[in-house]
Symmetry: C2
Subunit: 201 residues, 2 copies
């Protein structure tokens, strides 16, 4: 196993994976990742997260079709000229079947009976980030995708959600098809302000 990686190393290594090998991901690993997700904070600690774990070929294909449709029907046009050619090509690969090719797709939802719509995102996206970090720590590839939500009603049908449970993201989990390069980010000094907006950190 080698040495223990601390949380800062995992945070600095996490990045989107959009192409997966066909090697299976067993239930024990999925459960470990979901367990991490459930330890996130939520409004009133009501834990409104819902995870539907999809492995079935037909369902994954159907989710992949929604993703492709959202990409070709507007996503690509929106991103062209905004993304670097390399990132655009990677997102294209993901949208055209890479993401849906992961052996596991986790449809992450919010239960409106446990959190009203105004605070639902504040209570579900922290859990998603825990999920992504746990996946990274275990060597799994993952990414936070929201493209299929363009057809949220169809997505909800595929995994048979009741009307008060809203789909919020689709997270592919699988072993990366190739090594991932490090993430690129702007430094804190460009994002932090002192006391008031505009006062440099």
């Amino acid at each position: 196993m080698g040495r223990v990686e601390d949380v800062f190393e995992v945070v600095h290594r996490q990045r989107a994976c959009r192409r997966f090998s066909e090697d299976p991901v067993d239930d024990g690993i999925v459960e470990k990742v979901l367990d991490a997700a459930t330890f996130a904070p939520s409004a009133e600690n009501r834990q409104p997260w819902v995870f539907v774990v999809v492995r079935d070929d037909e369902r994954r294909s159907a989710i992949g079709a929604l993703t492709r449709q959202a990409w070709e029907g507007g996503g690509r046009a929106h991103s062209e000229g905004r993304l670097s050619p390399a990132l655009l090509a990677d997102v294209e690969t993901g949208a055209q079947g890479g993401v849906a090719g992961a052996p596991v797709l986790v449809v992450v939802c919010g239960d409106t009976r446990l959190g009203d719509r105004r605070v639902l995102a504040a209570s579900v996206f922290p859990a998603i980030q825990n999920l992504l970090l746990a996946a990274t720590a275990l060597g799994l590839g993952s990414s936070l995708t929201t493209l299929p939500l363009v057809f949220g009603g169809d997505l909800a049908s595929i995994v048979e959600l009741p009307t008060d449970v809203l789909p919020m993201a689709v997270i592919p989990l699988g072993w990366p098809a190739r090594p991932l390069s490090p993430p690129r980010r702007q430094p804190v000094t460009e994002k932090a302000h002192r006391e008031t907006f505009g006062t440099p950190w």
Copy 2:
């Protein structure tokens, strides 16, 4: 320093702190926590997060007053009967000055020029979760508070946000006034479903 704590240990230990000691938190630690935040994923990697780090007594008091006002003007009534007596008392302590008593308040915002409103939460709350985990790893107390957003316009004025930068959360950072008990969460089996909603994990 002792042994290195892995990401799962930090995830399992993270919980809201609402009462802080007066010991200072130096800039180096704040920067380390914000650096972790900036490594979160975001739509198109546009990194729309903005952090305003507030230490000034008057500004912290003003944010504390908004929090108290939101609590007394509706927050408490909403939470009474929904929270356990222990959690209600803790939230009450926080809202009545505990949170604002932290030496550092980070007002986390989303820049609408870098992410449209529909996807802003999906791009900012993962960064907030990285921030909270990094704080936990360093022994800092923290919590994700959204109460002051009831008066978002006033909060924006206090830290002088331009109109296209929206406040999304206030995170207190400080050393815990007393040891934190472990978080309580429902197990994965109550939150995960297999293939379709309602099929037990």
